[in-house]
Symmetry: C2
Subunit: 301 residues, 2 copies
């Protein structure tokens, strides 16, 4: 079996070494234009040229959970598309969400490095709404529950999560939003979810709403959030993803008093976990076994 | 039954109303000098005069988990001393500890509001050591475990906690410290634990140690922490409690680049939870039943 590796940033060598150690029988190389045909590819943000040159690929492993960037390309028709599942990302997401949730509700940013008194807020008044209840969303919901916040959840198709009141589909969205004060977006980016965080949906949140977006920048209509922050309906936001990344200098989110910007670090791909997971799936496919994380192209994730 | 209430700050009325609603048969009053003898008292930081005038008190309920301030006074010899147990404090402590742990390990303070790349740190390299494994410590340990950090624990007497490697007593302290990088202090303040965070003990932490003190200021020898921060052995601290509170203007912790100061807000007494708990214990004592949270005066908690 021949496997290609490509990632636009970072050194390929530790990835190649890790994959070779896990799959000693395979021939594993960094992709370069004109590389001989391979069976599988392990990729992050590849150029279209890679797929144009390698139409015979049987499996494409994405080095991330979000498939939106890859699905914009013309992909080999019959290749199995496999996304990264968790691989150390879910716990990072749970940390990020809990951190900014707690920071907001406990008002730590206003209590640090000064001696002031503030009346404790009641966590019952900060129900957390999690959009997207897959592996990442359910781990986040579980972490938030542990801090005794009320949690509601929303997903495309109905899901049951212990301790979480769940809603599904377009019909369930208004009710979910009206029960949410801190909204956490963990959705995949698809045609259905693009722009889903807008003036109408965010306007349905409880007064004093707070947005934590750790999914994709294109979920959010940025000017709608700004308008709701200005009107006072929303109290703030912690944003890790943006329509344009890096977030351009001069963008109103920079230095906005109610917005915390982080540079797309809420859930980073961890090399060792990713290599172990992908190598495991390659071995399973070689044995003819099914693997998890296979992407449905029409659905978009 | 006659019950006195005293707290030096805040309005007594909502406390009196809450206690009266829970204990309609009792006579409940805010203490004033010369008040008629009572059976029980619900107190925070009372003056010695209260106990001098009320030697007949049969039960004293402390509006906090820490007994150190109360035990400095001359107390009615036969009064049962009862501390507040959890009452909404444990979850607050868990939030505080996880927040500053995650903020440090994920380097959020360095990633906020700029677009920079930092290599993710490995959580396995940040074992968290929890000192004090009672109701607060065990809740904190459980919350930290959920974010996949290795957790060790230390307590005066041996304790078992699922997922936590525990050590006990003076003999177990050096080994506990040597396995810890992020040290969380949740100990009661007693003669044995005063000054327990000092140059010797903090010097045994793994390099790059971080201290989270949510217990009492007198646990920490402040100049020893400053010396270890200056030497680089310790990387930082989040401190909620201080030897003198409010932390005096001009104290080196203010504006220290490696220290975050918070104004003793990690676990605040919540009125409704506290009233419910204390009223429940008063009813149990009236029925002749034992109650939890009774303080051993010699032990100090």
């Amino acid at each position: 079996m021949r496997i290609l590796f490509y990632a636009p940033t970072g050194k390929p060598d530790p990835w190649l070494a890790g994959l070779r150690a896990q799959l000693p029988a395979a021939e594993i190389e960094a992709w370069q234009p004109g590389a001989p045909p391979a069976d599988a590819a392990v990729l992050w943000s590849p150029p279209q040229q890679l797929f144009d040159e390698q139409p015979q690929l049987k499996a494409v492993f994405n080095l991330g959970a979000g498939m939106d960037a890859l699905l914009k390309l013309q992909l080999p028709k019959d290749a199995l598309l496999v996304r990264l599942e968790d691989a150390g990302m879910a716990v990072q997401m749970a940390e990020y969400v809990c951190h900014y949730l707690v920071r907001h509700v406990r008002e730590f940013d206003q209590l640090e490095n000064r001696w002031v008194f503030r009346k404790p807020l009641d966590r019952a008044e900060f129900p957390v709404g999690v959009m997207g209840l897959g592996q990442l969303g359910s781990r986040v919901a579980q972490a938030v529950l542990q801090f005794d916040f009320p949690v509601v959840g929303w997903s495309r198709t109905p899901r049951d999560l212990p301790g979480v009141k769940t809603f599904a589909g377009e019909a369930g969205l208004p009710e979910f939003l009206s029960q949410t004060r801190v909204l956490v977006c963990l959705l995949p980016l698809t045609p259905d979810t693009r722009d889903i965080l807008n003036r109408d949906t965010l306007g349905r949140l409880k007064p004093g709403g707070y947005l934590i977006n750790v999914a994709r920048g294109a979920h959010l209509v940025e000017e709608d959030l700004l308008a709701l922050l200005d009107s006072g309906h929303m109290a703030g936001a912690a944003l890790d993803v943006f329509r344009t990344e890096p977030l351009p200098a001069g963008h109103p989110f920079w230095n906005h008093p109610k917005v915390t910007v982080t540079p797309h670090i809420s859930g980073r791909t961890l090399r060792e976990e990713s290599i172990r997971q992908i190598a495991g799936k390659i071995r399973a496919l070689e044995r003819g076994e099914p693997v998890a994380g296979v992407v449905e192209r029409e659905r978009g994730y």
